[in-house]
């Protein structure tokens, strides 16, 4: 009995530590850190999708970004990064479970920088701050969309313009 209990405790603590590990692995940035993190290769198209687990239209369009990311997984020409605006208090309770449940393929980073007025215009001056919002950039060229997407084709059409 004692042994069984010990094994169970070991398993539980192991599970607990892997979970904690995942939470620690999550990249949480302020805006400057995010800028530094973002790749700036002239030959790579980067797609930054600003979203949150509580944002219904964001969750609805997520499969298209997922599909796109999988399609270009072995090809470095297109990179999808999901910038989560989930609140700090919800990372463990919502974001990590969401990432697991949907086996999110793209890189997920958390932008935790509450003075949004300071950085929204730096993403794009036309952005009101409503999400979802998506920025495509390659070198100095950029296109910004404050809208939802309704198919992978829609995203592919934009990719073609770069």
């Amino acid at each position: 009995m004692k042994e069984k209990f010990l094994v169970l405790t070991l398993i539980l603590s192991f599970l607990g530590s892997t979970f904690a590990q995942e939470a620690n692995d999550l990249k949480v940035f302020d805006f400057e850190e995010l800028q530094e993190y973002l790749p700036g290769d002239e030959n790579q198209l980067v797609i930054l999708n600003f979203w949150a687990t509580w944002c219904k239209p964001c969750v609805k369009e997520m499969p298209y970004f997922q599909e796109l990311s999988e399609k270009y997984a072995s090809d470095e020409s297109v990179l999808v990064i999901l910038v989560s605006l989930d609140m700090e208090s919800q990372l463990e309770s919502r974001l990590i479970p969401f990432m697991k449940k949907h086996k999110l393929h793209p890189d997920v980073v958390v932008l935790d920088d509450p003075d949004a007025n300071r950085w929204i215009d730096r993403v794009d001056p036309s952005w009101s701050g409503a999400i979802p919002a998506t920025l495509f950039y390659k070198g100095d060229r950029r296109k910004f969309f404050q809208q939802s997407f309704h198919s992978v084709k829609e995203l592919e059409t934009i990719i073609q313009t770069f």
């Binding site: 949150a52 219904k56 509450p114 007025n117 009101s128 701050g129 409503a130």
Partner: protein, 194 residues
């Protein structure tokens, strides 16, 4: 005659595109049903020095993060002539948590001291150009739009707030000055339409 229609149509479509109020524009009054059951207009507030119109809702986490601060803002500013009028711009068909019934429940739970009204038919928020919840539009007593944007500069923590945008804007209006800044941005939820 045909030309007249063509021109009228062109004019209408242009006005439609540019219908959003800008800073300095006079805004139209509205009449919207509140959770108390009565219809609310700006003109109902006798002796008001201005109005803090906040497009907000039940479901959005950013709106929820600001609920207590909106209550405080009203309690502090109403006696100074600036009541809060909270308008839910969402279509309840698209976001059931923002139905009129749910609004009533929320207003009761939180004891909202301000009017919480529904933009039934969604005709008011497009005129203001509201794009998210929460989104503040501060107008003076002549119903001239003076400030558009966020309540303050930190949704996460009231203690960490450094700039009280709405309070500062009200102070400027009271001093006969123009608010600086008169526009700020914040992250928020899109306004839900069917």
């Amino acid at each position: 005659m045909r030309y007249f229609f063509a021109i009228a149509f062109l004019f209408c479509s242009l006005t439609f595109v540019h219908a959003q109020y800008q800073i300095g524009d006079k805004v139209d009054d509205f009449s919207l049903k509140s959770t108390d059951g009565d219809y609310v207009s700006m003109s109902d507030y006798k002796g008001a020095e201005g109005y803090i119109i906040i497009f907000t809702c039940n479901h959005c986490p950013y709106a929820i993060a600001y609920e207590d601060r909106i209550i405080e803002l009203h309690n502090e500013m109403e006696s100074k002539g600036f009541p809060v009028i909270a308008i839910n711009p969402n279509d309840p068909e698209a976001q059931p948590d923002d139905s009129f019934e749910k609004m009533k429940e929320r207003a009761e739970e939180k004891g909202f001291p301000f009017k919480y009204v529904l933009d039934e038919g969604q005709e008011v928020y497009p005129k203001f150009g509201a794009e998210r919840t929460p989104h503040v539009f501060l107008v003076d007593k002549n119903r001239v739009l003076q400030y558009i944007g966020a309540i303050d500069d930190n949704y996460k923590s009231e203690e960490a707030v450094e700039k009280q945008y709405v309070r500062d804007a009200i102070q400027a209006i009271k001093a006969g000055e123009k608010p600086r800044p008169n526009t700020t941005k914040a992250i928020g939820c899109t306004i839900k339409t069917s």
